[in-house]
Symmetry: C2
Subunit: 507 residues, 2 copies
Amino acid sequence: MSYKVKPIDINASHVSVIMNAEDANGLGLSRTDRVKVMARDRSIVAILDSTRTIVEPGEVAIFKNTYDSLALKEGDQVKIFPTEKPKSVEYIKKKMMGDELSTKEINLIIKDISDNNLSDIELSAYVTAIMIRDMNMREVEDLTRAMVESGTRLDFDNKPIFDFHSVGGVPGNKITLIIVPIVAAAGLLIPKTSSRAISSACGTADILEAICRVDLSIEEIKSQTESIGGTIAWGGAVNIAPADDIIIHAEYPLGIDPYPQVLASVMAKKVAGGAKFLVMDIPIGEESKVRDKEYGRRYARDFIDLGHRFGIKVECAITYGDQPVGNAIGPTLEIKEALECLEGHDGPKSLLSKSLSLAGIILEMGSVALPGQGAQVAKRILDSGAALKKFREIIKAQGGDGEISSSKIMLGQFYEDILAPQDGYIHRIFNRRIVKIVRAAGSPFEKGAGLYLYGKQGDKIEKGKPIFRIYSDSQSKLNTAKAVALEYPPLDIEGMLLERIPNIHTI
Amino acid sequence: MSYKVKPIDINASHVSVIMNAEDANGLGLSRTDRVKVMARDRSIVAILDSTRTIVEPGEVAIFKNTYDSLALKEGDQVKIFPTEKPKSVEYIKKKMMGDELSTKEINLIIKDISDNNLSDIELSAYVTAIMIRDMNMREVEDLTRAMVESGTRLDFDNKPIFDFHSVGGVPGNKITLIIVPIVAAAGLLIPKTSSRAISSACGTADILEAICRVDLSIEEIKSQTESIGGTIAWGGAVNIAPADDIIIHAEYPLGIDPYPQVLASVMAKKVAGGAKFLVMDIPIGEESKVRDKEYGRRYARDFIDLGHRFGIKVECAITYGDQPVGNAIGPTLEIKEALECLEGHDGPKSLLSKSLSLAGIILEMGSVALPGQGAQVAKRILDSGAALKKFREIIKAQGGDGEISSSKIMLGQFYEDILAPQDGYIHRIFNRRIVKIVRAAGSPFEKGAGLYLYGKQGDKIEKGKPIFRIYSDSQSKLNTAKAVALEYPPLDIEGMLLERIPNIHTI
């Protein structure tokens, strides 16, 4: 049956179709039943909601974002059919039971995810099942391939493409802004795509969009990489392994990262991005995605194995993730710190050494540095000013200021220093509390928001002297962030006698 | 901050609050974020949707069903706060990891479920995790108690209350309509509540509402039980263990019944219903919830143990579930068949013997029959006409015709016989296909819809003679149901050479 479709201007979190209750009864359907909505040339699976007044019998309403994704227009008709649960739900149940999935079964699960055929309930069962039951490497390979095929691919005509990836979890990890210019300045091609924040304070894409475009198209990434050697683009703007975004939608609220899914999601983006050489940064820390070295080594081994299955040479670096990289966390703060590093200022050692080590591995893989000399070559490129020049070229190519410098970066105009309540040493830094404070200050949406650490682990602090500064673009968010910082102190100071109140919140 | 609230007349499947995009940005919130909505004296956790036109800044819209459940009125204001994920999500993750949950953790999970604090994603992670990880009996006991406390309880001032329950899965299982009158006629109190169909063709509540009310209140159940000995009410009309309905909302689409949840959900309803003596019917069959006797015995042992923990004496009967009980499936067809049995017609043996056996166990538990003689006593009560009289009393008390008889029951006016394509014996009956056909015919909403089997397993059939009849209230649904029956033949006939097409659908 055909229904005239009306958009409702709601950007909704769920894919629903709203039917007149009479029509729904006529089809034997109730609220929360699954239906297939067929438009002229697209279709979608939606959950049924009902109304007695919003639409008349013979009409249906659809939320704006779904209406747009079906490419509907005023006066269009859609067909609606009751639909059964997708076959892939049976395969998710098979994984629940602990069985190995076949290639065909994995393909269908990813196809149903990509086609938005799975409800939140089914999607969550998938991530929970693979979280508990895991997958073997054959299944992970199939999962990776299915995810690659869920989207488009970058094709560089077999040119050697270099890439790197950090397995999330460390605030202030702005190394992309330094590594990409060094690698590109060395003459290698590095079409880096980055993500936005999911649970972090800000992703590289959130950071860089403070000063230039990051929403490059596939064509722009290709041509910019071929002309100047690199991009720092937002991966979400291109349709690379789009199933990942849908899977994250279920993982994020649960705060889980199923091991086989992390492997497949990371590798699928690299395969689809055309990489032939890949460096993986695996930060280890109590509050990181990877808690200990043992687990980090398992990731490393499996990334290398998985890369091999797709013709990608992978090298892995297990890095220190127990405190932020550098001293600055937050969009413009991080750009400023990265620029200072590129400009040769005396910046934080953790940022410099991590960036040079990882860039060095890439340079060695690309044979522009001898084995063991990559970091030195990277340092020479940095010291020569070539990396700064390349960074400015990239910013300019992406629509920003080609003369950008650290002194031009505007930080949040509202800020406040937090003072040390007592003498002592910084014993520990709580990464997740820093994230919480920076987000409360407005990051990643408000670019001036952030936190600047005056000291890192082991540094001495003096009573009454500032230990960190919070920045914000508004006084009200500054106040909120400060309140969060007082409730959840991000630094543990040795030598202080503090009454500790047990914290029962998830932070 | 306060917002003026507007209802949107949509009976939605999801709890959302629709904010103007400007307001949402101002709070640093994005679509799909979780917020707490506080009305005058109630609050709810909702997912944020955004709009630019449906509401102005300073206003929010809420779907009608949520608006009603918050008891909102025109012009009311609500407060909206960003809210973190509920603590119980951490406990769900703990179960994912395979750990035992404490009493406190289980209580909080069930409280968050009952308060609608968990999203579909979180709820699905819960059912998937306990499906895979199971629970020990201490956890099941806590889960049961938490579920009892999620709702109201029936209180019969310590009178001995009898009850029984079938662990679903067999079409045509209309035994409640026969057992309750027998037990009540014997002078025992049996305030039976039944469910509506979830995955079955029709639940007892769906069946009985064809001839009387089933939506009795707690008070009505109590007073009717005390005056005439029994009820056959719809459990969903009373707020008994309401967490169960929310949990089913996640289990049903996945087609899973996590073992510890089945134990707890069944027992919670019996504890809250005031039962002291309980008979469990556990049908075993390839297409039943319980597949084999081994598994059935595990259920039996655990139901007995669990009942003991709540002072309920439980006896379990493992019954045959490989084909329908009786010959009739569908609301009015089942009432007619049950009435014929009560009236003493020569009905199907499977229905009669199952009803008498189970009623007999209850009579023995209630000491109105000597051990081993319960079924005989039940048969005497049936043969005497006392059960029929009691059934009519119950129907009359629930607003139906106190002179009801099988000849007055109206079946679907559209029907068609399906003929045997060949001579042979009925080798197997596929319960799920029968359910599929009966639902296609309009059950459980259309009361005349159903299927009548002219033969059961082992019966001889002759080419060209009817093997079953499909009933419907409309010609169109009859056609649909017939098409389903031809695509998924519900009977397997020995001696027939059929080309079998592999069936890849879930049926």
